[in-house]
Amino acid sequence: MDTYNEKEIIALLQDPKRQREAFECIVKQYSEQLYWQIRRMVLSHDDANDLLQNTFIKAWINIDYFRAEAKMSTWLYRIALNECLTFLNKQRAINQLSIDEADAEMVNKLEGDSYFSGDKTQRLFQKALHTLPDKQRMVFNLKYFQEMKYEEISEILGTSVGALKASYHHAVKKIESFLKECL
């Protein structure tokens, strides 16, 4: 199966003999975009890799419950972002750090990260992003980097379009004022 056709894939998922083959197509189609969304949240490649695998394993286990009412991408994004939130909360609890301390520590680790090739401005940008609450950061990443429409973000996060627009607007203002102070 070379070109991805969601209707065909969903039909194949119903056939137990071809379910695995269909799922592999889904993995190939969505792994990269999901990875970057996760990576922007957790910063570390190793953590992002683990979370991406967990996302697909959870999707595989629950594939029989997937209702074609939502798009496959919406469903996968929902699982991936929930995995991120759970991971971030767990990290803070394990390290017994406040939200600010945990986020500052994550950004500081970028300094020695071989899989980060950004300059000083990019590091500051990441620092600014990590001053945002997790959900607000998710909205910002989906809109700013992925140029996702508000309606689609609304389906993923279960938040109204109006609330998302307000959240994004505030996020941009916060980042802008943070960068003004630092640069």
Binding site: P16, E24, Y35, I57, F125
Partner: protein, 124 residues
């Protein structure tokens, strides 16, 4: 949005993160190897006629058993028990009996017949 334009100008949308070489190419294969096997669903079970009828038969048998138990423990009313005994019948006055006979429109012959057919036990 003005602030967004400013941000785009300063920071852009360039991805500062990188991945190990061949990461995405190898990812799907590595993941598929890790996926647990799903149990193939068994073929649909065939429901026989006996299996369909069984619950009804069990219910009927239970009902019959219950009725039988009630009969055994509670008992049947005696069909031949007379409405009153001979001793009780002797207490009735002749006038009372005559009144009853008039109301029942029974003549002497019919009464004689009735009495001779009656169980002699009643008069003992």
């Amino acid at each position: 949005m003005k602030e967004e334009d400013e941000l785009l100008r300063k920071c852009g949308t360039k991805n500062p993160f990188t991945v190990p070489e061949g990461y995405f190419e190898n990812f799907s294969k590595e993941l598929m190897d890790k996926l647990p096997e799903k149990e193939m669903p068994l073929s649909e079970p065939v429901i026989t006629t006996w299996q369909r009828v069984k619950p009804w038969i069990y219910m009927t048998a239970m009902f019959c058993g219950l009725m039988l138990s009630v009969r055994v423990f509670v008992g049947r009313p005696k069909q031949d028990t007379p409405i009153f005994t001979a001793a009780e019948a002797a207490e009735f006055s002749d006038e009372y009996v005559e009144t009853i006979m008039e109301h029942s429109m029974m003549d002497d012959y019919t009464l004689y017949q009735y009495l001779t057919e009656a169980d002699t036990e009643t008069y003992n």
